[in-house]
Symmetry: C2
DNA sequence: CGTCTATTTGAATGTACTCAAAAGCGGTGG
DNA sequence: CCACCGCTTTTGAGTACATTCAAATAGACG
């Protein structure tokens, strides 16, 4: 493990440590199961048709997962920044080809674990079972809220809410990706922004 | 435990047993933590402002969780039928008041566990930690797919997909609830159905 | 049978999309 | 440093998707 990497493993351990407490030995066992990886901007972590082999923790950088429909339009499922996770759970757990893509938007540093090692890790360090349970519970809560927003709010309202929740998001992302996350077209998002400015 | 109830505990144990394997003692410990409850049609399991005190397994019947916005419109987050779970995870885990409602649509039989007992159960029967991890993973996968449908499909397409996935849903639910689940108005759903019939 | 609620229908309106063109904004190379 | 290229954003016009409001019809339940 290089000096560089140790910084990234530390952020993973901090992340896990904020949910469960690990002793030194357990921390080592955790780190032993994760492999670091670096992506350059526009580099793909997962492409339509691949099997998603890893659950991925983001140490640094920014990624986007999206689906491309038959007409070629992109629909953004998730963004992931520092201290978040990203994967295609369905493809990962069932080891089936995905219909999604994950791409780095910036230079990105990741820590990855495959299904087998995750299994082994949960056997060796049973607390990690709890960690993933908690992680998934939080993910469920966030997703429920997003579903509620999608079925109850207009495009303009969803945009305002996103801005309130992540004020800095516009600096880091082109608008068209925000639009595809909200479920509207880039043209319509531009119109929404114009109306906001005119007030 | 009455004879009646044992039938319902059996379905819970079958449900859990399909994800993890429990021995007889563990099965008893599980059952000891759950309390049965019966709801009549239109009876509320949870009301806006309450704290969600239970995770609820549905033995029999049908429930709906929904949010009422400022204008009084209802938005359906989830339906739950036999062998499904329903709760407001956010309210349950944080023990905070909910903004949602859960109501029985039919006569319903439930098994409920509160946060403290769930905690105790996971300590006594560590496998249950795994059970809830798996349960939440599956919930996440389903929610991701619903989000993708919401941002990439039209109302008519979402309706067709729902019918394909749950062909019998129309027998069990008024249309207005289906509409509020899809994120469209009942009037519009009626128009969609008319167009389908005309083909 | 009457009442209450759900569904349908129609018309008008608003929300969001498509298409096309123009303007803006980096990055790259001369 | 500027000109050019490719990509993103803006703008406008026309269209389609979805909502609101109101009234009529249909179903469910006591």
């Amino acid at each position: 493990m290089s000096i560089d990497n140790s910084e990234y493993f530390k952020s993973l351990l901090d992340h896990i440590g904020s949910r469960i407490s690990l002793n030194a030995e357990e921390q080592e066992q955790v780190c032993a199961m994760f492999s670091p990886r670096v992506l350059l901007p526009r580099q793909y972590l997962l492409s339509q048709g691949d099997i998603c082999h890893y659950e991925t923790y983001v140490c640094k950088g920014f990624l986007r997962s999206f689906y491309v429909d038959k007409t070629g339009n992109e629909h953004t499922l998730q963004f992931a920044q520092e201290d978040w996770w990203i994967s295609d759970l369905s493809s990962f757990l069932n080891q089936e080809p995905t219909i999604r893509n994950i791409v780095a938007l910036e230079k990105t540093v990741l820590l990855q674990i495959d299904l087998q090692k995750r299994q082994q890790l949960m056997e060796k360090v049973p607390k990690m079972e709890k960690f993933w349970r908690i992680l998934n519970e939080k993910a469920c809560i966030a997703q429920e809220q997003r579903i509620l927003n999608n079925i109850s709010l207009s495009g303009a309202e969803r945009y305002q809410l996103l801005l309130n929740t992540y004020p800095q998001i516009e600096q880091r992302l082109p608008q068209k990706h925000i639009a595809s996350f909200l479920g509207i077209t880039p043209v319509f998002l531009s119109q929404i922004r114009r109306q906001i400015i005119q007030k």
